[in-house]
Symmetry: C2
Subunit: 184 residues, 2 copies
């Protein structure tokens, strides 16, 4: 495995499992088995490493959500599948919450670089729900209705992600699923 | 001000604004203007200080939510008032998110002492919504319906709290308000 990938994999695991602020550069260097010079050759700072980690998880998360949605045909099935996917993820022993909300939890809101990336990912989740709810309908009204509903479902989505971590259990994903379906 | 209170006030401000893991014991000692010995006389560990801070915020938060709910008479008004309260809180410049969800974001789920306290606070929010929705109705069915609805509204509540931090804006509280009312 090349050095850059080894750094990213190690940092990603540690940032997700124990948190960004609890992970020191020295632990990353040690567990990735590289030199300090080598790390700083690839990343100017720990924050640059954080942004690269979030960028990678961002792409993977959106792929997973779009794949889950694609297993359904009707709007209800697509929405349902996204929350089913969450319940499976939240029920696995590796689940430590949402990568993005964890960072919003631990990083002060003044950090624009990190918050811009978190917002970008959340905007894309909202857009995915809007797309699903628009359901090939055209016209301003259909679009406005879809957007309004989408943001309500997105809040259920983020609430359930946090709550699954708080309770270390998948039930919030299933409650969110039922609640979202009742909104349609 | 007595020493114990000065320690708690300083730690609370720092934990909330910059995060628990980013706050070192030395910064608390310095900003509270006390000695290290004095801090450890009052608190055995930084985690003990965290638990006391969360306990105090817990009591205050539940008081605030109950006071907000009490401004309404009908179920809709009470639910509405809780989210209006959130939108005011989220719109203030001091808002740094939910004290409890921030900790769930930054502290690994293996930390039972902290997670038990977070769960206790979230359970009480869920109970408050259940009480409001039960609305003096008696009978098993009314209670079951209220509980089911309450958990959906609680997920909107937590989702909006996180989202208000992510976007540094109060709009998610207002979307959650509308969505919650549409569930009634």
């Amino acid at each position: 495995m090349d050095t850059r990938k080894r750094i990213i994999d190690t940092a990603s695991r540690l940032f997700y499992q124990q948190g960004y602020n609890s992970t020191g550069i020295n632990q990353i260097i040690e567990e990735a088995d590289i030199s300090k010079a080598s790390l700083y050759q690839h990343f100017k700072s720990k924050e640059d490493l954080l942004l690269e980690y979030l960028q990678i998880v961002y792409v993977q998360t959106m792929l997973d959500l779009r794949n889950a949605a694609a297993t359904g045909l009707a709007v209800e099935e697509k929405i349902s599948a996204i929350f089913r996917h969450m319940s499976e993820y939240a029920g696995s022993k590796d689940f430590c919450g949402c990568n993005f909300l964890n960072m919003a939890g631990e990083i002060p809101k003044e950090n624009q670089r990190v918050y811009e990336l978190i917002q970008r990912q959340k905007n894309e989740v909202r857009e995915l729900f809007t797309e699903i709810l628009t359901d090939n309908k055209t016209g301003k009204e259909a679009k406005a209705r879809a957007e309004k509903l989408a943001d309500g479902i997105y809040l259920l989505f983020d609430g359930a992600l946090m709550s699954c971590k708080v309770y270390n259990d998948a039930w919030p994903a299933l409650v969110a699923q039922k609640t979202a379906l009742s909104l349609l």
